[in-house]
Structures are given as C-alpha cells and as structure tokens.
Amino acid sequence: MSMNKQGRKTDIKQPTSDRIDAKTYSGNKALQIEEPILFDLGDTQTTGVDFADVAPFENRLNGMERAEEFGLAGLSEPETMRHYVRLSQKNYSIDTGIYPLGSCTMKHNPRLNEKIARLPGFMDIHPLQPQSSVPGAIDLMSELAHWLMELTGMKAIALSPKAGAHGELCGMMAIKAAHEAREAQEEGGATKNVVLVPDSAHGTNPATAALIGYKIRSVPAQEDGTVTAASVKEALDDDVAAIMLTNPNTGGVFEREIVEIAKLIHEAGAYFYCDGANFTAIAGKVKPGELGVDAMHFNLHKTFSTPHGGGGPGSGPVVLSKRLAPFAPLPFLVKDGESTRLVENASDHVSEASPFGRMTAFHGQFGMYTRALTYMMSHGSDGLKQASEDAVLNANYLRASLSDYMSLAFGEDHICMHEVLFDDAFLKDTGVTTLDFAKAMIDEGFHPMTVYFPLIVHGAMLVEPTESESKASLDQFIEVMIALAKRAKQGDAEPFLNAPRFTPRRRLDETGAARKPILRWSSEDEVNM
C-alpha cells in the first residue's frame, strides 16, 4: 500500500511545562487583537481612498476656507472594516452567553422579531408620510396598544415615550395634568405637591417626580425592600399627589400589600404610579389595573425582548387608568369604525380628550413596536404567561441552588420573583469584596450580575437569569458560582484581588476614570500644548 508521508501529524505534543509567557511580540494574544483607537490607527496625513485631482475652479469662499487639517484617520475600506469588526468581537452580549444583569431583563431577542422589523412596509417608512399611505403601520400600533392595555387591564395608552424613565415622566405628567384640571375646577383647592417614593425605589422614580416640580417624601421600606400599607398611611396627607412603586420591587420581591396601598392612595385623592420595569415577572399573571394602578410604563425592550446589546433601542409606552385617560399625550390612536387614525394635533382631537402635550416629535420607536408585537403574538397569551413563570422559576432555581454557598439578602425562606438578591455576608472576613467576586466571574467567562444595587443591601449582587436560560446553562453558572464562593471562603483571595486575569485589559481604574475622565481623543500636539 502507498503511504502519504507528507501528511501532517495529528497527535498533540504535550507541552513540557505549564508556564505561559503572557507576552507576545505583537502584543496580541492569540486571536485577541490589540486594537488601537481609530485615530491612532490611521495616519491623519494620508488617505486610504484615491480622489481624482480637482480641476481648477474659482474659489468663492471669500477667505472662509478651512485653515487647519481635518485630522481624520486616513484608512482604506479593509482597514476600517477590520477595525470595527475587531471592536465588535470584544463585545459581550446576550447573543454570546448568559447575561444575568439584575433589573435589566437581558432576555434573548428572537430572530423572528428582526425578520418582521425588516419587512419593507415597516422598515422603509417615514414618520412624515401621510397617514393614508401607512395604514398597516398604524394598525400595528393599534394592535400593540390593544394587547398592552389587555395585559394590564388599563383604559388608555401613550405609545410614544422612548424608554423607561421617559415613560415615568409621561405617566407623572398625566397625573400632574389630572391634579391641575381638578384644582382649576374646585377653586381654592389645595395644591398637591408631594410624591411618595419608597427608599428601595429605582433612582429614576424620585428623579422623575423632582423633574416636574414635586417634592419627594421617602417611605421607609422593610428589610426586604417591600412597603407596608401602615408606612404608606403614616406618610400620607393632603399634600400627596401620587406614590411611585415598583412591583415586583428592586429586590425581586412582590409587594404583598399593594392593593391596600392603592386603596389608601385613592382615598387621599392621589394617584398610583407603578414602575413596570419588572413586569417580566408578572406579565400574563397579574393585571396591574386590577391592583389599583393608575399609570404604568413598560420597558418594551426588557419585558418583550430586545434588551440593550440584543436589539434595542429603548421604548417605554405608558398605560393609564380611566381617570387619567383624558390626559394622555399626543399623538394617540382613535378608532373610526373599521379604521384607526393617529390624532396628531390638539385641534382635531375628540371632545373628551385634554392631552397634556406630547413626549416626542413623532410617534416613538416604531421598530420596537414591531419587535414587541412580534414577540407577544409569537408567544400568545399562554406563552407570555409561561415566559413569566419560567423567569421566576429560573431565578428561584438559582436561589435554592446557591443558598448554602452565598448569602441570600432576605433569608432562606424568601421566595423571589424574577431575580434573586444576595448580599456580601458570605464574603465577610475573606478579604474579597462584591466587586472582586464580580471580576472573578469575568475570568470564568460570565458577565457579572448587577452589583451594589439595590442600595438597601450591603454589597448587593442581583442576579436575573430570565426565561431564556436552559437548565444546563443555569447549572454551569451555579457550578462556577459555588466554586468561586468556596475558594473565597477557603481564604484564597489572590485570584479575586487580581481578577480579571485573562482579559485583554486587567482591572480598570474605575475611580480614576470617574475622578479624571478623558472624554475625547486628543492628538499628540494637543496633549503637548
């Protein structure tokens, strides 16, 4: 038989030593390329594109021509392409692996969403087109509005807000408009100028209320961050215009006394704003309208997929109760028999409406409407319910699996909703902090959880797996978390303090970056100036 002796040997020669020299001649590490920023990469004195010589022309700029160089990086197309592809490969996203960032709901963005959003009839339209030329797009908005109101049991909707905090602002402006309308009617009526916010709230809640002139009154939260009806009663008086409450709260715990709280708030002539940031835990299970909520925003980009890094951008529609419905901002949808139209101007609105204004110049994030509706319709009502249940189940699987190794912020018997909160008690006296632990997770190939939030817990670690993770994925995560917790407790702090060890850049100087931020690239000449 003939034998091809030119063949390559396929057996692997064992290395003689485990020693790894971390330095390479190029500065690259295997296929991890050290990528300079664009301006350091390209010579600003040259161009990667050949321009034809300019024919003689009469200069009519009258001395206004640019006196200095542009300073643009002169790169050719392949150089530019490689630069951006290399940068993109440094990114970690939900498409790369588990992204357990608590409070962010980093769930998978189904590719069907992207396919539908790219249909020419949805993609190639312009907000200034006449409504008669885009009936399909308006129907889509109407359908989305219907299902969002159905899921929440609410009566009206403002689709236009661009993200969560913008939605909060919209809801609170509707509440303010309702109070002002009432105050205009009852002459001499007291002006309500206080908004109640639990001290466990998202920071955007008090910021939103303050932005439109309300005073903030803090309601003390219990140890698990929940609020009792008794503490709300204590804080209530005639000055209170509204309460802002997140449910489930920022610690992943359901507000058990929410119905009583809503009742107290309404009796005091105030409104109930619910922050819907964590709606993913209860979508299809609970209708906030039935709990007594007057206004709630959605984060379409969380609850209905397409989180940051997985699609985006943000979109924060707000649903309103019957009492707030007349104050919904422009533009809003009105059904005329079979067809739906968008009311764009205060002058052509229907009689009972008194919109407080408008939140955006156009109609909001239409691409996100398409994706969210695709997600909802491909899941169906039973699928949405199951997604919520799976999200809660996954979080509780992590909670139960890790409870012996890490420390649960609210104790062993506290069932969580869609996210589980740990504190740093299990790291006590190990010399390892929450931040070190998070950095060590990067070495293990995981994006860390949310750290140091919520503030009511010491050294908080907030883990939200979402329903997207399989049991195998969760088990892998659990295994590593247990191993890291054990290592820390055994007194082996070194790998934590040095983490991340295997990234192209080691621990970054976050403090230095915050104290002395360098906000833009400067040329050497500028630096030396």
């Binding site: 140091y452 939030f453 503030l455 976050e510 403090t511 915050a514 104290r515």
Partner: protein, 125 residues
C-alpha cells in the same frame, strides 16, 4: 472651645463659636468606597435640620449629606471640588464639607458624642 457631635446618618459637626463645621465620618467614607465627586451648596443657603445639604458620589452610588442642624451655610470647602479623594484621605479633618452658622443650638442635644456614635456603628453592623 470646640465640641464634636455625630448623627445617625454618619455626619459629624464640630461646633466652635456658634459655627458648625460639617463632614462625613471616616466610617461613612469607608462604606462609600472611592469618592469621585462632592456637590456643595452656595454660601447663603438656609437649611433646616435634616435637609439635604450636599451630595457625595462614590463609584458605587450617590448619597445625600443632611444638615445635622439648622442655620445658614457660611462656607463650602472648595478644596473638595478639585480633589474629591480628600474625603477618603481625611474625612474627619481636612475634608470638611460646609460650615453652618447655627440658628438653634438646642438641636445639638439630639446628636451623639463620639462614644455614642461608635456604639451606634457597632450596633448597625
């Protein structure tokens, strides 16, 4: 003669001739981590006891600093604007935040002395 008092919100106030020099405690700066920014009020501001007077921002979070007593802000420590890290280095001395001219010295009686504060910190942990 000066005397220093402490609050449960981890502020200290050293009172001398009717003027209180206010800062955050060493324990507070340690808990906050690296301080990156301090927002101070303009002199002339009238504050009530418990009002938000300053904001201190660390890499972890932003926190309010409350006025331990009522009065008028007479001076703010400009050195902190340049160098917020001073709070981490010398929270209870050079890194004072503001000086307040007391309008009601009786309010001091509600505050703790050093031993009382240390006991309070111990009980909180």
């Amino acid at each position: 003669m000066s005397k220093t008092y402490y609050t449960k919100e981890h502020e200290w106030i050293m009172v001398e001739d009717g003027v209180g020099t206010i800062g955050i405690t060493d324990h507070a700066q340690e808990q906050l981590g690296d301080i990156v920014f301090v927002e101070l009020p303009e002199p002339g501001l009238e504050v009530e006891q418990g009002d938000e007077a300053c904001v201190v921002e660390s890499v972890k979070a932003a926190s309010e600093v409350y006025a331990p007593i009522s009065g008028e802000v007479v001076e703010a420590n400009e050195a902190l604007g340049e160098n917020a890290a001073l709070v981490n280095e010398s929270a209870e001395t050079d890194a004072w935040f503001i000086k307040i001219k007391l309008s009601n010295a009786d309010e001091l009686e509600e505050l703790m002395d050093k031993a009382g504060y240390e006991e309070f910190v111990e009980s909180e942990s």
